[in-house]
Subunit: 249 residues, 2 copies
DNA sequence: TCGTTAATGAATGTTTTTGATTGAAAATGG
DNA sequence: CCATTTTCAATCAAAAACATTCATTAACGA
């Protein structure tokens, strides 16, 4: 049986059952245990399922709503697709910074466990702790609307850290001015975090490209923008900007 | 049966029944007692349930029905009574520090609006922002169980501030050693916050007097303990300790 | 065709999970 | 209060599942 056929069977099984035993899959596919194990390992890497002892379990399984099942049977949503890809860049042992905001929030379910996270997003903390990920939070003023930590105290806290990678959300991306955000104080935090990271990633689903309001982050340096769709000319403009790379999952 | 299947069954059972007996689960899952015990231990660690003698009980179940009705129909609970009194001590324009923990959490609904709050309790932030109270949060390591900020970074953040009043929870009060807490790092934060405050208040409902585990906060200085019931001899012992005052609402 | 690469399944030794057993601790019922 | 029963945590050996390695087979381009 073809590899892609097996994969389809495995995914289909999980759509119905939430969990599936390895031996069941051996029977269904008429393949060896080894092969199924390899399939499961691959599918787990691609975040289609979670391996458990004795088989595999659906990622969405615990939320038993039919609407969620639909979601998983179709393609992943844009935001999730970006999130999954971004998470795949993280390696065990990494020390990473997570920006506040909903785009970055989507990242959390896909993070590997053996990392250390620093964040200025209070929204993120609960979910990070649920996942048993050691979490440090920046101090400072709690911005009411977004629950992001900002201000002088936040910058001071941030100075103490160094990161392997940082993941930033944006309120807008502008072909000439780079990625943008309307709140000057939030921008300062982003900027400093980027400068403390070896690698910087900016997550942007396409809705971000239509934003108008922005304040330029002037001295951004090396960064990778992860997005889905982008008009060719925009990409060209971004690509020619120093050290900015654009990738799509 | 797969581990994740069993876990799902256990969680599902608790969604309906509030509590479930270990033997029931043994039957449902066709697994041994030992296995179910191990499952319950794991699920308790992940905060999905609470183990009780003979089985397990839902975490949210208690909060829904019985206690809320009792609470609203009867007089204010002890904790609330203490909270209302403590909040009445705060004046407009005050700069106050709120310790992490459930006792202090009760304070928030009763706070006046025109104050500034600093806290190390992540649990508190949402409710404070709801009340439109300007809130600063200490940075540092997020302690998973209590969502309190602790560690070196927290102490550094804290140094920046000065408070008119601080309100501390305790895990136990000991007649000889003063108020106590089992976590040394949490104790350090408490201690520093107190030393940065003009006035210090310790909130303790009577359940706190029976705690055993404690680590002494050695150099506590002036403080007022707000509690409800206290045995006369204990109060005398506490009162004779330098500068500690005991009041009851 | 040949040589190279990728996929597969069998064989190996290791790790994890499991259920039975033990004595300790907690609840129960006089 | 004590005696009895139930529940519990800790330990251990067997079984199941596991990752890894290796030889075989199939697929592919030169």
């Amino acid at each position: 049986m073809l590899e892609s056929e097996r994969h389809q069977i495995i995914i289909d099984s999980l759509k119905e059952k939430h969990t599936v035993k390895l031996q069941e899959l051996v029977e269904l596919t008429q393949s060896s245990e080894s092969t199924i194990r390899r399939d499961l390992t691959q599918l787990e890497e691609k975040k289609y399922l979670k391996r458990v002892h004795g088989g595999a379990s659906s990622l969405q399984g615990k939320l038993q709503e039919p609407s969620m099942i639909e979601k998983s049977s179709k393609n992943l949503q844009t935001k999730q697709k970006i999130a999954v890809y971004a998470a795949s860049l993280i390696e065990e042992g990494d020390s990473i910074y997570l920006d506040a905001g909903s785009t970055i929030f989507e990242l959390i379910p896909h993070l590997p466990e053996k990392i250390v996270v620093v964040t200025n997003g209070l929204m993120h903390v609960d979910k990070l702790l649920e996942r048993n990920i050691p979490t440090y939070v920046l101090g400072g003023y709690a911005k009411p609307k977004t629950k992001a930590m900002i201000g002088r105290g936040t910058l001071d806290s941030l100075q103490q850290y160094r990161f392997d990678k940082c993941f930033m959300g944006v309120n807008g991306i502008h072909p000439q001015f780079g990625y943008t955000t309307p709140d000057q104080e939030e921008a300062q935090v982003k900027q400093l975090a980027i400068s403390l990271s070896r690698e910087a990633y900016v997550l942007a689903d396409d809705s971000k490209f239509s934003e108008i309001a922005f304040s330029k982050i002037s001295d951004l340096h090396t960064a990778t923008i992860i997005t889905n769709q982008i008009e060719t000319d925009t990409e060209e403009q971004l690509s020619t900007k120093t050290k900015i790379k654009v990738v799509t999952p």
